[in-house]
């Protein structure tokens, strides 16, 4: 029966695709549209990932995809003023804000812009038409549409998203902040597509915030492709804060050229079911990559992080650190792989996944892996899942700090290792506060933007 259901699901998406192909193509150039049919065929081969596939063993996406959603093949007119319901108030955080509403670039609030130094911040849609030479060069070059069926599905349906371009040698002074808003009166599915291109020697920071603004079920299947050129430097921070009725599959494809440096930090405060895929390719010598994640889950939430760190060239350094606190009957999975190719001598690659399980019912499946074909490398990997340290608990309590407060201090300290590495200082401070609130249980019913939720009078 379940097999039939999967075939049905696959056909349902394909049928929907062909029925709406003309609408999907509308307003987008041929170099985007010509990838669609091949992509849907690739999707058809594997369908929605299921738990019999090794890489999706602990995360069953089928129930989420089986639900009926409105798919936004055209932007839905939303007749309210976002100013009334949404406001980002990280103090002192001055950013170029980009709003994506149900996956569509929301121009009313955030105009497209070209900065004096040539930096472009606009919609994927506009970029595809206006800057075809840049888009053509990078679009669908890093995303894996053959191996990852959901990336193929996204490529078949991609119509809009965010686009960032930083020209050679330029520095973007302010971070770009992309805010993904999901809001509708009916259940919705978003498949936005982001493309960030950073040319040689450029520098930029990008913040992505995900959140749900209405109590409906939402499904997101997003793809972000990032090209970081030679000697370029990028800081990426993502804050996931969606409600329990949301499912998110986020596919992040990074290509780093020689001497480049990328740090990516994902803070998951809340979400129903989250699958974060990180495909990171160090495609030149002397790259540095730091990919970190922190997830705090409770009740029936589920988070699955999948990382492929591909060391394709010598003298690169990478560090993966994923930490989680799981409460109630929350579940999680971590599947991280370091691949060191034959030529990648002098690689230094580290990977760790540490979890605190606060109850006997919380469950974590952790699978760190090393695949090494070079012989002169330094690599390590490891995972721990356990309770809070008894000795530390007693030490704190023996100084008069109650159990609950002691637990909080230790969890906070556990989380600090990740948060402390966020390089945008005001954001780091704000995330510290949010995490503390989250750990205190004051954020769990939050339905609004993580940047002001939990504050009195605002929800």
């Amino acid at each position: 029966m379940s097999i039939d259901a999967k075939i049905d699901l696959k056909d349902r998406f394909s049928e929907f695709f062909y029925r709406n192909l003309e609408t999907l193509k509308e307003g987008l150039p041929e170099h985007i549209n010509k990838k669609r049919e091949e992509a849907i065929q690739n999707f058809q081969k594997k369908g929605i990932p299921h738990t019999k596939m090794e890489e999706y063993k602990y995360t069953d996406l089928n129930p989420a995809f089986e639900k009926e959603y409105r798919t936004y093949i055209k932007p839905k007119k939303i007749d309210f003023d976002l100013n009334d319901i949404f406001r980002c108030d990280v103090p002192e955080l001055d950013t170029h804000v980009v709003l994506l509403l149900n996956g569509w670039y929301y121009q009313k609030k955030t105009p497209q812009r070209e900065l004096p130094n040539g930096v472009i911040i606009t919609s994927f849609r506009e970029a595809a038409n206006k800057y075809p030479e840049i888009v053509k060069k990078h679009y669908n070059q890093y995303a894996d549409t053959e191996g990852e069926s959901l990336t193929a599905l996204n490529t078949a349906f991609a119509q809009d998203g965010a686009f960032i371009y930083v020209p050679k040698g330029q520095t973007m002074e302010k971070p770009v902040q992309i805010i993904n808003l999901l809001m509708d009166e009916e259940d919705g599915m978003s498949q936005h597509r982001n493309l960030f291109v950073m040319e040689e020697g450029s520098q930029a920071s990008v913040i992505v915030c995900d959140h749900t603004l209405s109590q409906k079920n939402f499904l997101t299947n997003s793809v972000t492709e990032v090209f970081v050129g030679q000697n370029a430097h990028m800081d990426f921070v993502r804050i996931q804060n969606e409600h329990n009725g949301s499912t998110q599959v986020s596919n992040f494809y990074l290509n780093q050229e020689r001497d480049s440096n990328v740090s990516a930090n994902t803070i998951t405060l809340h979400g129903g079911l989250i699958r974060n895929n990180y495909n990171l390719r160090l495609n030149g010598e002397n790259c540095e990559n730091q990919t970190l994640g922190l997830y705090l889950t409770d009740r029936g939430q589920h988070i699955d992080s999948y990382v492929l760190m591909d060391h394709a060239h010598p003298h690169c350094r990478s560090n993966q650190l994923f930490k989680g606190v799981l409460d109630d009957y929350a579940t999680g999975a971590f599947n991280g792989r370091i691949l060191v190719r034959q030529d990648a001598q002098k690689t230094e690659a580290y990977q760790a996944n540490n979890n605190i399980l606060l109850t006997d019912d919380a469950k974590m499946n952790s699978k760190p892996q090393l695949v090494i074909y070079a012989d002169d490398v330094k690599c390590s990997h490891g995972g721990t899942s356990g309770q809070l340290n008894d000795n530390a608990m007693f030490y704190l309590r023996s100084r008069g700090i109650p159990i609950k407060e002691s637990q909080l201090l230790l969890m906070y300290a556990f989380a600090h290792e990740i948060i402390g590495k966020i390089k945008i200082k005001p954001l780091q401070d704000r995330i510290h506060e949010l995490v503390e609130k989250r750990l205190r249980g004051e954020l769990s019913r939050c339905n609004y933007c993580q940047m002001h939720c939990g504050e009195p009078g605002k929800n």
Binding site: A392, G400, P402
Partner: protein, 250 residues
């Protein structure tokens, strides 16, 4: 202040304390000595409320209350302090945050308001001078990367900050060189008052050259086998523990 009567305690079914009687009054300093494995540290842990130990018999009355009924944090808020033999490293928890939380919990318990940051910092400065601890330690995470001596000094610093009624210092002297030992002892002496009391647990007599005890007890096989004044410590230094072991066996 503290009355221990016939205290028995065990860990995983093994009896470690086999009937301890001890009375400590305000203003007194008691030294508990004894060979390794005699139950000294276990006694300290039981008094501080470590849950690994099960009290099977006896009672402990602290300031008129049943101490054994209280959770570790309640004991601390009532003025009991344990200086750890092996202070725990807690990466990510700053000394500042840790001490502030501890002090404000204590104040809350007494019905006082939380301390103002400026007052807290002033107090920290004063106490830091008292125990000669470096600012670069108090700005770090709790005990993280501290040397053995720094950890012990940090225990005395916490003691100074929390101003306890009864301090139990568990082998605070172990692993200290003579200069560090003097500093620690000096801190303890400065904090001494007619209203508080200290129990110093030690293996060696040398600490007692700097902290002069009113009473000395020898713990062996989970029992206090001999009590006396500071002369007893000197006697132990000279003769070792064997004669007491023999006595205890007879």
């Amino acid at each position: 202040m503290l009355k221990i009567k016939n205290l028995h305690a065990s860990i995983e079914g093994n009896e470690i304390l086999k009937g301890i009687d001890l009375e400590v009054n305000k203003g007194e300093v008691h030294a508990i000595m004894g060979p390794n494995g005699s139950g000294k540290s276990s006694l300290a842990s039981v008094l501080a409320g470590r849950e690994l130990f099960e009290v099977t018999e006896g009672e402990v009355i602290y300031e008129g209350e049943d101490l054994l009924e209280m959770a570790p944090e309640e004991r601390a808020k009532e003025g009991l302090f344990l200086g750890f033999q092996y202070p725990v490293e807690i990466p990510g928890v700053s000394m500042m945050n840790f001490l502030k939380t501890a002090i404000n919990e204590q104040r809350k318990h007494k019905g006082q308001e939380a301390m103002k940051s400026s007052d807290f910092l002033k107090m920290m400065r004063e106490k830091k001078d008292l125990v000669e601890i470096d600012s670069n330690l108090t700005n770090r995470s709790v005990n993280e990367g501290f040397s053995g001596g720094e950890k012990k000094r940090n225990e005395i610093f916490q003691m100074a900050m929390l101003n306890p009624k009864l301090s139990i210092l568990d082998e605070t002297d172990s692993g200290l060189d003579i200069d560090a030992l003097k500093i620690v002892a000096n801190g303890v002496n400065k904090l001494k008052s007619p209203d508080n009391a200290t129990i110093v647990i030690t293996h060696y007599q040398r600490l007692l050259n700097y902290i002069v005890p009113d009473k000395v007890h020898v713990l062996y096989g989970g029992k206090i086998v001999k009590s006396g004044d500071k002369q007893l410590a000197l006697e132990l230094e000279e003769k070792g523990y064997d004669w007491l072991k023999k006595q205890a066996m007879d």
